[in-house]
Symmetry: C2
Subunit: 634 residues, 2 copies
């Protein structure tokens, strides 16, 4: 151990989507990061380009949607299916449906297509605002969790790619966002398991084309007598073509089979008949073999973590790689933060692999199922219609069911985390009968549904689920129902929050006496933000009269549930209704820092509501709470 | 005349909102501009800050809304009224209503509050993209429309403010965006007429405050026993206070009356009782006398023009100064462009003063009426309710009527231009009976109402009125009704557009044979863009089969009128319905480059529709059109 080694909270290897999102979060939250990348510059061409609806929603929560959209990306609202006509007359359209159908309650019901390099630069610009940057071209040559420094147990060896300059640093954490070929993963001896034995060789070509094919600005899946192709529109009149060049199911399969750009263009021309296609320019072209694979572990020691393509590879067809990477990074970021900030037990880091590996398994299952679904037959118009209906449970047949769950999964809104310390279930150590109030339709482990409300202080119509930025805090949504009926319950909620051993008081800010008057999100604690929403018109809400000081302090986070919503057209309080909460009685929804719901609790007079939350948080926080008993029983 | 003088299309003096918007438009459209300003840097503090709903809509059309919103401006959705309580108990809220009520069909029903300097920088950044910039600190010392150069008739003398360096240039046009104290206006001998003899001394203070006054994040008009104040929220927790310090109606009126920041703060504290207010910091403070005034002319020779504050001054209360300036600049920009590009007769420049001076007169009338309205009495809750209803014609009494028209006017959506060559009326030289089809509710001279439609090529839901950017072209909206019923009319429309002497063919691009495949807006002519909207679901529209090539060439501008709109909930084709156009038969709406409707024409089989448009455009274009007769009769 070099005594003089520079020390970092985390060394992040790789500045693709997963590494960058992790860097951005931790840099914003005050951590000292070192993010290296072995490339001289951000991605120039090619690679991932699809931001799914839920990911865009997340980027909005990070205040990064605007710079993304400033690049005027393509937006895919519909997917068109084309198939061969009989008699060699070329292809014709056999169906099309919404990329993110109405039954998914998405803020942004479309996929956003933008070159990965532009997305990376948005993250890098954000790093600069926090005094951080990516160091290039550097690579990792070794690491060792030698524990010689208790606080910074890992030694990391780095090397400049051109000058061979070496650097040894120490870190609390090491993260591999290196992509499919990961030095760190290999060093850890983590194996890749192949779920589906079939592998494919894909060709991908980005370029500017001229064509009379009418759907060139939509996502298309095209089968023809001459092969299959997928079309993805992009910014700046660019079009991406995916073409399957070989499959391990082929008799003469060669995973190293190559194809020139001219081969691919010639194939595309045949496949698209009777339409023509010509290229003005080709920006990027690549042929690569790909198989399904999943890392057996995402970490060994809970100090060195893997994420992104390093953990899961699959076909690019569903556009899930970058999106899964974003959520890997997000999931790990707030957990590291909660441990390092002294809020949560170190054991929560175990849930990173548990939660994210499960999603990767689902992704691979989905990948296989989805492929099978469409290789069998073309769905009928009626099936597509049924599959696009509002009600996800109204699934008429197997096809519609699989299709719907696929659509929900790929949008990102189908992702849910199973029961654990964060995601309440009847197996959780917190056992109050107030959990999961009757009638509520909130799905624990999933994203809280979007809802528009009116902010009381300035009468702005806002997106409630976006009101707390991605700041690492748990979001306590107090749905306060009808003011006249919940007056007592709200007062008691506040009183019990303030009790010495409550989850809220226990993790009060040390500087609570000198917090800025203008602090909006974290006036009392860095780990909680509270939003109060009344089922009442805005002009009937008087914050100082209707809310106890601890809640009134969040004056920017008091809302009126008085905005009409087409999803619940007859509801008087749409946000309450969307969550299945009684418009009189309300309820409390706890949302994890990443936007997934942790638990839902009945709002009652007395201490029960806060007691239940004490029990809930008691399952993973670092200090005893709730009357001194970490897991008090009611 | 210095033979070596540099030559410009236009010299623009002043880089405030009016000068910058003019510069941005003309620089984008390829003109050589020289924009000078006598300040060293853009506005640092103070000045205008309110972007009204229609102005934001315009900035969106210029693709400048995103950088404006990136500054996270305050948004005012409601205005609160506070008045004294009896018994010296201080103020209480007596009413509040929407800043842009629902009866106004606005895309953005709020006022956007942002420091003028930040707005200026957005324009300046855009200038840079077009290779232009503002030269500082330079001033104008003289000018002369000496005609010694026929193309560049004006000599302009400029001086650097620090070095006294002098420059003489020649220009086609000279524009004064100098503000209330205009050297150019004075040199021209243009007088300011004072409509309302009353003048006021205002104090204005921008700062960050602490207060328990609950409406500090809304626009407030506060009357108290200790005086009156207006509150305007701003970005970054800033608050602007306007306080009337003296009025010429006071017995001892002194237009030079001063007040220190401490005086104003002391007054504010008294006025706001029983609430407290304290300042963390004061960013800007100013006291200035202001009276209503309007320039008697906006130009003398149609070469030297005035605009913005140089032409109209009034109270800052309604937040109209910068917004009026934007529209002055916009109005002049496209008219200069159409003359200089050889499209329109030079005589159209006369409509600049006619159209814009009329708006300034209305503004001053409104200013006086609005002030009187609220000095008389506080409106009742019922009146406010009635005034916010959807239907502008359902006005119950005089108050509601005046209030509604005031709201519409200040939003920018009430602005309309009276009959002239651009704004068709029964007095227009074009006399076809096809103008102004029965049932249509489009109001010529006003903004085309917003409508969402689905773009056919990519299934994106888009804002139809925004689909043509501010590119200087007339926008021809072909509402094509039901495809099966308009097939013939659409075909004939296309055929007649292509006739040699049609308005469309006459102004074809010279490079029409080599226009880029990817050109979206101006494939045939720089002066026209065509959007076709069918009253049909998107998936029934086949562009290549349903549209003749001339219209199909605008493949990015073919739309399906299949998006539900809450304003016309029962309509099957909402965009058609909002315009009062028959969903079977459609109609043609011609929109000026600035978004105001020029004329509406019935869509019929035969040559009638295009004949009518030939007559309409024949009234002002520079070449004979329509069978060789500039104003053919049907």
């Amino acid at each position: 151990m070099a005594a003089s080694s520079e020390k970092y909270d985390i060394v992040i290897v790789g500045a693709g989507p997963v590494g960058l999102l992790l860097s951005v979060c931790l840099a914003r939250w005050g951590y000292k990061i070192k993010n290296i990348d072995n490339r001289e510059v951000p991605t120039l061409t090619g690679r991932a380009d699809g931001i799914q609806p839920r990911s865009l929603h997340l980027l909005r929560n990070m205040d990064l949607k605007r710079p993304i959209m400033a690049h005027q990306p393509a937006k895919v609202y519909e997917v068109a299916f084309w198939d061969p006509q009989s008699g060699g007359k070329g292809i014709h359209r056999t169906g099309n449906w919404a990329a993110c159908p109405k039954f998914i309650d998405a803020r942004y019901p479309f996929t956003t297509l933008l070159h990965q390099g532009l997305i990376e630069r948005v993250f890098i610009d954000d790093l600069h605002k926090n005094g951080a940057d990516v160091q290039r071209p550097w690579t990792i040559t070794g690491f060792n969790n030698d524990g010689q420094d208790k606080t910074y147990p890992i030694e990391v060896n780095l090397k400049h790619m051109r000058t061979d300059e070496k650097e040894i640093v120490r870190a609390k954490y090491l993260f591999s966002g290196e992509g499919a070929r990961s030095f760190i993963r290999d060093q850890l001896g983590v194996k890749i398991r192949h779920k589906d034995p079939i592998s494919h060789v894909w060709g991908v070509m980005d370029g500017v084309v001229r064509t009379d094919f009418p759907d060139v600005k939509m996502k298309c899946t095209i089968h023809s007598d001459h092969g299959s192709i997928m079309i993805i529109p992009r910014e700046n009149n660019m079009v991406r073509l995916y073409i399957q060049i070989a499959s391990s199911t082929d008799k003469d399969f060669d995973p190293r089979k190559q194809a020139t750009p001219e081969d691919v263009q010639a194939s595309a021309k045949k496949i698209l008949q009777p339409y023509y296609i010509e290229w003005d320019m080709v920006e990027w072209y690549s042929v690569y073999p790909i198989g399904q694979g999943i890392a057996e572990n995402y970490t060994i020691d809970h100090r060195v973590f893997l994420g992104g393509d390093c953990c899961h590879t699959h076909s690019p067809k569903a556009g899930q790689g970058m999106n899964t990477a974003f959520h890997d990074a997000l999931n790990l970021a707030w957990k590291i933060h909660h441990v390092e900030a002294g809020f949560a037990n170190r054991s929560i880091l175990q849930s990173y692999e548990a939660e994210r590996k499960h999603i990767a398994e689902e992704l691979l299952d989905f990948d296989a199922k989805y492929a099978a679904l469409f290789s069998q037959r073309v769905p009928s118009a009626g099936e597509v219609g049924a599959a696009s209906e509002d009600n996800i449970d109204g699934a008429a047949n197997e096809f519609v069911k699989v299709f719907k769950s696929s659509q929900e999964f790929t949008s990102g809104y189908g992702i849910f985390y199973g029961p654990n310390e964060f995601n309440w279930s009847s197996d959780h150590s917190a056992q109050s009968h107030l959990f999961n109030p009757k009638g509520n339709t909130v799905r624990v482990g999933r994203i809280m549904p979007p809802a528009n409300v009116t902010r009381v202080v300035d009468a702005n119509e806002v997106q409630l689920e976006q009101e707390i930025p991605l700041n690492g805090s748990f979001r306590i949504f107090l749905f306060a129902g009808s003011p006249s009926k919940t007056q007592r319950a709200v007062a008691d909620f506040a009183t019990n929050l303030q009790k010495k051993k409550s989850f809220y008081s226990t993790f009060a800010r040390e500087d609570i006496a000198s917090v800025s008057y203008h602090e909006r999100h974290n006036p009392h604690s860095y780990f909680f933000s509270i939003c109060t929403t009344f089922a009442s018109p805005r002009d009937r809400i008087d914050i100082s009269k209707m809310l106890p000081p601890i809640l009134a302090r969040y004056s920017d986070h008091v809302y009126a549930d008085d905005v009409w919503d087409p999803k619940v057209p007859d509801a008087k309080a749409a946000a309450h209704a969307k969550l299945g909460l009684d418009a009189d009685k309300g309820g409390v929804v706890v949302v994890r820092p990443d936007g997934h719901v942790g638990c839902v609790v009945t709002l009652v007079a007395g201490s029960g509501t806060v007691d239940a939350l004490n029990d809930y948080f008691g399952a993973f926080v670092s200090k005893p709470i709730g009357n001194g008993k970490p897991q008090a029983q009611l």
